[in-house]
Subunit: 442 residues, 2 copies
């Protein structure tokens, strides 16, 4: 048992006020108690006390959309419009490089960056999800890998039958592993047939897992669908019965008011990826409108090939600023609500409403601390939510626990994860950079 | 003499390609030579060799608009519309707090954050500019303080006569100090009379210094001017002869195509402050259009009361992403051009075209290094400009020289600056936080 005694506790449970003099007891993988330090020290005299001076303890952040397996393509396709980005760089590079080993090494890299920055759970969509799960479990981070499908063949498989079969096999392989969870992930309306959508929607209901799907990322996605079928992709998915509380609509840059209202009614989630949407010039998602209509809006980094960071602090700050600036309303998505989007709302979106995103007895112990008092960029010390949302960042994260296990201490990985990161960095600097450069595509 | 031997040299002179095997010789305050390491080691055997493994050496970043003297108001007014922000928080807080001591301590804090993040020169606008100059020179950072004017009385003075007199006296006090430079700073069209604009415009010509002015920050600024005078503020300033190559138009959120064309013709500068414009819901400046029309666009953080960071890496990344996303053009403001905006273009805007912003013999030695090979968030190591622009950040800055003097080594302040920062942090955590909280305005 570990008794964490931080300077401030930000439980995200009911209130976003930071509490002084509080402690959190970890027992195994769970939060066993939350209370006054004096009480818990007396009640649990044998627990290992961990004093966290000048730090705020809060739930780990949850990245609701990424492609960790693409991290080795960071910086390989900048300043390009989406179609060039895909056709001239990403698809050719993936075609030549993206095998199981590439996905594994990319994911180690992604996990290292995410964990150091305070992300303790990520919702992934990529080929070879068993490699995603393998890398994540080795690095000690919670993952939602995907039973992915797309209509055309890739290195990973020939089509929906094989993709779904392989996804289910990967799920079986990791069944019982406490860090590994699954979604179904139809890639996007323009790459997935009605039949496959229905099949995956049914699978999601049977397995009681989320549906993770790119939707309305670009104007041309919507325009092309209207030309082909006289129907907007959202309407099509709604008719197919996909738009429900299990559905995560990723991007949603071109959702209209009618569609946002349906999303709010149906309890489905908008996963906002502002940096990627801006960088690929897809546009600005209507998050202010979505929030005002009562849609659950959470945040994803998207992959490192289009961001190029996997940093939820910076992503969240951009999300909040962009919502204000594009809606001309400075009060939208305030600091405290942004922190909810990154923790408890994200947990709800992924089906973990009663297990993650808050510091509460019985919840899983995914916890981080952030240094608050030692650095000029965090001074003066006024309201904590504001400091976390608007002036803090990945570099301020000090300690990380996932599933009750301490993974990072004083900003350093512990044990085997430190070696995994170092080995991966050597391989990236040697083998992978050589392979990428030899392709002569950049 | 110091001979800096980095892994890569990004001189920003003509090309933005990083050079291997190059070295830079610092002699006193100047860059004395740039060339192959082998040659310079032979030519200057007595110079102190400084080996900078895994680091890129580049010109220090230049913050083209800030209010360092407001840094103690960081986080004191979040999620508020501009008028509430000003009237309910900032002006009352300034009225009670912003004396010379407040400006000095705020500026120490701002300099600490900026220098650590690789900013070596900042263009400031605030009251008590002699305190700005005092703090900056003590911290060892280059500053452009301002001979400010505003029509109404403040704690600093009674009106234009006194403001200008005090500004000129401060300039005299710091004359001959190599780190201190001056602009004239009429606050904004809605707070400064025609007479004062002309007076400061004339002064700028006489002293050969820049004119630093907020312009078209909000739609209501433009609308109110149209109601009052049937004239847009830009048109008014242009008629008064202010819109010339010395003029820095800060914000420019609501500049139209006609005005941007005049700015391009006249060679004046747009200082873009994206985070502040978004956070205060002022809108999104037309930077893509400005760049396409040939306007020089540079970047400022604005003050910590509206940002809440003084981080040019994050500010630059947001600027580039926002230009792409709002113009629906992913090719605008590419990585290499962004680095120019932060270095050589910024130097030109401030009148230092032939002294700063490039690594070139005869230029002032304001230099920084950035760690490029040790951390997961910077891997793989593909193109350097992309990594600096899109995945790097303040935390990666390792070494800083300003005016030939090393100020930061291995991310730590050297000598007296370390003590100044520590003293200031103690005072902020004690005296200032107490004073702010006692006002009970937050």
């Amino acid at each position: 048992m570990q008794l964490l005694c931080p300077e401030w506790l930000l439980s995200m449970d009911n209130s976003v006020n930071a509490l002084k003099d509080h402690a959190v007891l970890i027992d195994g993988t769970l939060i066993a108690a939350v209370g006054l330090q004096s009480d818990l020290k007396q009640q649990y005299p044998n627990a290992t006390k961990i004093i966290l001076n000048n730090q705020v303890l809060m739930p780990g952040l949850i990245n609701c959309h990424t492609h960790a397996g693409m991290t080795l393509l960071r910086g390989a396709a900048d300043d390009m419009p989406l179609q060039d980005w895909l056709q001239k760089r990403i698809w050719p590079l993936e075609g030549k490089l993206a095998d199981a080993e590439f996905v594994y090494d990319s994911t180690i890299l992604a996990c290292a960056e995410m964990i150091r920055g305070g992300t303790t759970f990520f919702n992934d969509m990529y080929f070879f999800p068993e490699q995603t799960a393998r890398a994540a479990t080795q690095m000690g981070i919670r993952v939602m890998a995907s039973i992915l499908s797309i209509e055309f063949p890739t290195r990973y498989g020939s089509g929906p039958d094989e993709y779904i079969e392989k996804g289910l096999a990967a799920r079986d392989q990791y069944s019982g592993h406490s860090l590994v969870n699954w979604s179904v992930a139809p890639h996007a309306p323009y790459t997935v047939s009605d039949e496959t959508f229905v099949r995956l929607g049914t699978l999601a209901q049977e397995l009681d897992i989320p549906i993770h799907c790119h939707l309305h990322e670009t104007a041309s996605e919507v325009d092309n669908a209207l030309k082909l079928n006289n129907q907007r992709p959202f309407e099509r998915l709604n008719q197919l019965g996909l738009i429900n509380e299990k559905f995560l609509a990723v991007h949603g840059v071109h959702l209209n008011e009618h569609e946002l209202k349906i999303m709010a009614q149906q309890g489905c989630t908008l996963v906002h990826c502002p940096a990627s949407n801006l960088k690929l010039a897809s546009g600005i998602a209507p998050t202010a409108q979505a929030l005002n209509l009562g849609v659950r809006v959470v945040i994803g980094t998207d992959g490192a090939a289009s961001n190029n960071k996997l940093d939820l602090w910076e992503e969240g700050r951009i999300a909040s600023l962009l919502a204000k600036g594009s809606s001309l309303n400075a009060t939208i998505w305030p600091a405290a609500q942004l922190l909810k989007s990154l923790t408890c709302d994200a947990a709800t979106a992924l089906g973990f409403e009663n297990k993650l995103g808050r510091i509460k007895p019985g919840f899983l112990a995914d916890l981080i601390t952030i240094e608050m008092n030692q650095q000029a960029h965090q001074a003066p010390a006024l309201e904590i939510a504001s400091r976390l949302a608007y002036s803090g960042g990945a570099r301020d994260v000090v300690e990380v626990w996932i599933n009750g296990q301490q993974v990072v201490s004083k900003q350093q990985f512990l044990g085997v994860t430190a070696e995994l990161e170092a080995d991966c960095m050597r391989k990236v600097g040697g083998l992978w950079q050589t392979r990428i450069e030899q392709l002569d595509l950049l």
